[in-house]
Amino acid sequence: MIYKWRRLGENSLFLAPSIILTLILGIYPLFWMLRYMFYDYAGYGEALFVGLDNFRRLLRDGLFWESVRNTFVFAGGKLLLTLPLSLLLAVILNGKLRGSNLLRGIYFMPTVISTAVISVVFYNIFNSYNGMVNTVLMKLHLVSQPIDWLGPKHAMLTVIIVAVWGAVGNYMLLFLAGLQSIPQDLYESAAIDGANAGRRFWNITLPMLAPVAQMVIMLAIIASLKGYESIMVITEGGPIGKTEVMYLYLYKLLFPVSTGSPVAQQLGYGSAVGFASALIVGAVTGLYFFFSRKMNKVY
């Protein structure tokens, strides 16, 4: 009994720093935000109680709903490209390939580089007047005029490409971990039974990977819906709001971008937008879990 109490004491001591930090940095701000959803508050001076006004404004705020639409386009595009690509890479690199460790490192590298740095580089690669992409395309005579990669027509595609480049290595690694947990003897017996590589992939790899894939896809959905950092650097949500995503819109309300004359912070309304955004991400994740529940039972 004494041993148990001592054990509990030790555990609590080790857990205390993370619990305290979580409470201060994670839970307290959440309650702070929940409170200010009902206030008109600029971060200084008096906070004015406005009841549900912020939510009424939210319902008629075209910019917010446009950003929600953009978020789904961005997340959808990113997921559709990232997940198959990272799975494909994982399967290839899981085989007996010469230099596969080096390739894993190369594909994973974008994950460890700062998003801001990557985005500045991509801004320069894609800018239309002297960007590398246009220079190469024109030298190869594939296009006669520079393509306006960051213009209203293509900006979303460009930020999706950058996002995919940054994420593929990460999900590849997670899929790889999943693949390596599949027992080799299953493949061996399938091979003895005469199953070819395609059949082994469909009948063994995919089903066995399902529980891992369920988690990876969930992480990817949440990250895609919340992602805004690279967009902020590359386009600042522009041009004309074409790449304005939900969390970038939220960021601008809470930390308005200054261009000399300051724009007031809108902490009250920003909190309401943050709450609505979290609800949307939560709802999508919940729906995904509901529809993917069978994936967990495959193995």
Binding site: E10, L13, F14, P17, G43, Y44, G45, L48, R57, D61, G62, L63, Y123, N127, S128, Y129, N130, G131, P146, D148, L150, G151, P152, A155, I234, T235, E236, G238, P239, I240, G241, F255, P256, V257, S258, T259, G260, S261, P262, V263, A264, Q265, Q266
Partner: protein, 473 residues
Amino acid sequence: MQKKWLGLSLSLMLAAGIAGCGGNNNNKGAATEAPEAGTAAPAATAAAGGNTAASEPVQLKYWTDDRHDQEYIKELINKFNETNGENIQVELTVMSENYAQSVDIAFTSNQAPDLLRLKSGNTAEFVKKGYLAPIDGYLTDDMKTKFGSVIIDNVNRIDGKVYSLANTGLTLRLIYNKDLFAKAGIANPPVSLQEMVEDAKKITEAGKSEGVYGFALNFKSPKAAFDRSIREILSLSGYQGLGFDLKTGQFDFAPYSQTIEYFKQMYEDGSILPGAETLDIDPLRAQFAAGKIGMYLSFSTEPGVYQDQFPTEINWAGALAPTLDGQIKGTSEIVSAGTWLGISAKSAHQEAAWKFMQYMYGDDILKTYHEKGFGIAVVPSIVEQAKKPEINGMEGFLVGEHDSLWPAVPSVTPEGSTYADAFFKYILAGGDAKAITEDLNTRYNAALTKAVEKGEVTVTPDPAFDPLKPQGE
């Protein structure tokens, strides 16, 4: 078991060590130690500057978002650090982007600098947030005489208290590449917007094959782009440049929308540099320095930029901005004038900060600042003494008969998109200009009414306002 406790003890020691490393913050508790704001007499607040000469140096942090003058300011700071005789050491931090946001974060997290670069656009906001200490108590009679005529309400004097003194202002001009104008057969810079549209088209036609375009602006941030261009065109045409009607005390974006039509025309003509939609100001400058842009509108900081940041061989100049119809019916607004340095209300060393501020506002420094072309002097006694700046291109930016200081206009935050975003969308995607203008008027005036009701701004309509004499002289 012993091993476990040994491990636990080591972990605790390590944690304590790490915590100790992070705790050494000069500004910690500054709010409570700070003397009453600068309204007190200098002798009464001598806690920081003079008495510490023999002990530890007084460390002052000075934040600015000016990049164009940083080498000169560093030089001045080094000289001050070596010669002040009171062991005051100033450390300069030059912020690149989002200055106001960085200041907000610094004050919120109790890491505020002691001195701040103030501009007419952010001083009132900083005062409202409680960031600044008034300096009335420090001002000597000589300083009151020297700066008295350029102390403007709601710019550097707020609610009767002075927070900063004037140094320079920025004039706004059309910046154009003379060689490209000549190549396109254009003799002079445009005086009307119609001419500007035509010139941009001619320059593009003459140079497009070499990647040369008639016009560009940093549209990555539409507000930054319009506030350095349309603002100027409008004030010279007789209207306040940020959409506010000083006569009625209400927002009216009708003149703004007229100007936008010409920008839209240039976009439709293909006279604007491709990719300008996401162009930042520095890449724009790099392209202008490379001779790829015919003209753009910007501040009098540009000559300094082309001397230090983007040295260029091209033959360029600054000229008065074009007006709506070619007639000058107002005066060009000297922007960001009236303020320069300010002291943090949270600083524990306000006395020392004032000593540095006093040094920076010395005649020689202000004079040299103008002569080196970092800004255009607006303090009358400095204007009289200072020589013309010896910097290429600056002659086109000097204060002339068409330049003046305008009254401050209220800064409000409307619901929905800003005027800059709304009009930029109109340029790129079209729409109903009249409806956009009415919508902006409605939203901005609603925000204004709300701000007035909350006591955040005061508005005094001036039906007799004369854009040719904005200060009423």
